[in-house]
Amino acid sequence: MLTTRKPLAFIAPIVLLLALMLVNCIGCKEKGQNQDTQEQAAVERTEPAVPEVQDEPIDPNGKIKLRILCTTSPNEGRTADFTSFLSRHFIKVETTDYESFREDLAKDFDVVIIDYGATRPGTPVPQLSLSYCRATITFGVAGSMVCRRLDLKPGYL
């Protein structure tokens, strides 16, 4: 009896472990397959579709009537991150190359977002003049280099 019970006692935990790994693996796959959807759902849960305080003109789809021009980062995923987010909230979102950005490229837009995805100074800076006056959001350290070119207070020290 002892000789027959010992192998069973040895095998049972292994079978249980394999079963758990299988279940867990399936769980991971499902999680991986749905990760984007889940993240999207999380964003939609926390982002109101329509402005809560409606003092901005909005279109019938609940989008804010502003046309956004966004400069591109060498990291395409980062640029896509910005454009997909902005497209959910604004009526028009387009991109343009960061380095060759000029003010006249922004004439058909309401707000420019200058992003390059840089983590350190020393990145190239678009050739903007001191008379640049388009409504603009500059982003991160590259943005502060742009501000420095424009002799503005957030300019990088």
Binding site: V53, E56, L66, V141, V146
Partner: protein, 301 residues
């Protein structure tokens, strides 16, 4: 800068419209650099209330607080929690038509509050489309004299200070950096930078001799214009008006100065960063909600 902003002063409309920004606050240990770089005489708290703007740990860049709001075309929107500069350094701030977002993460990695604030910033800056700055950055704010004074005993290369402190002051306070800081602290209202003096920080002895306590109040400007009518002080008053305004070449009589002041006195401001001058806000110029904030004063309690 880290991934958070300081949690005080969220009254600005950009936290409320069009999306309501509802940050989740937490308390973090006050960074050592805040204590080291604090130029006030009070003590900073051990912990500070902050809220997370983005999820990854590292933010990106903050702008120095000194002088950020000394002109009504600029406003700090969020103070960045940072480990490099002083408390009060600006994580999100606007100057004229440009709003600098000092954090790094793209929208998917912002917190919910961060995303809402980002959207609000886009709507807010649109109001300043076409608005040019009233001043450009061309001088270092006076508080930098106090900030940099401790370095005279730490940096051997004297050329580092050639456009900061006059050689005679460097010599006088050699080995006594605190003395140099106190020298400026005592007369902080009279500090200016004069390109003819090599651009170093100077105490305005001319104003001191006239018993005027500050070089940046409209009252001082008015007094200088009054003194143009005093034969004994007119020359000095004229020199000071030339130092602190850009109108000296336009006016040839005290009456012209008086008329200019009368017409503009409610729209006159002084900016260190803009070159230690008085400026006039043009009629109709859109100033932000925070055209006069307490950050500068709070830094120098």
């Amino acid at each position: 800068m880290a991934n958070a902003a300081h949690g005080e002063s969220l009254e600005h409309e950009v936290y409320h419209t069009p999306f309501k920004v509802e940050p989740e606050f937490e308390y973090r240990k006050t960074p050592a650099n805040y204590h080291d770089r604090h130029i006030g005489t009070d003590k900073l708290p051990d912990k500070m209330k902050v809220w997370k703007v983005q999820t990854s740990e590292r933010g990106n860049v903050v702008s120095r607080s000194y002088g950020f709001e000394d002109s009504p075309d600029a406003e700090a929107i969020a103070l960045g929690f940072n480990h490099g500069k002083e408390y009060g350094a600006v994580g999100i701030g606007r100057h004229a038509n440009v709003l600098q977002w000092g954090y790094f993460d793209p929208p998917s990695q912002m917190t919910d509050a961060g995303r809402r604030l980002f959207l609000n910033c886009i709507c807010y800056i649109h109001r300043f489309d076409g608005v040019r700055p009233l001043v450009h950055t061309n001088a270092s704010h006076r508080l930098n004299a106090i900030r940099l004074a401790p370095l005279i005993d730490r940096i051997d290369d004297k050329s580092f200070f050639s456009s900061t402190f006059a050689p005679e002051l460097m010599e006088k306070y050699k080995g006594n950096a605190k003395g140099l800081a106190d020298y400026y602290r005592q007369d902080i209202e009279l500090v200016y930078r004069d390109s003819r003096g090599g651009g170093t920080f100077q105490i305005d002895t001319d104003l001191k001799e006239l018993s005027l306590e500050s070089n940046r109040t409209v009252e001082t400007l008015g007094r200088l214009i009054e003194l143009l009518g005093d034969p004994q002080q007119a020359e000095k008053a004229g020199r000071l008006l030339e130092r602190y305004t850009s109108q000296s070449n336009d006016f040839s009589s005290a009456e012209q100065w008086r008329q200019w002041l009368s017409e503009n006195k409610d729209r006159i401001f002084f900016s260190d960063v803009g070159g230690y001058k008085f400026f006039v806000i043009p009629e109709g110029y859109p100033v932000g909600q925070k055209n006069q904030t307490e950050i500068g004063r709070a830094l120098f309690r």
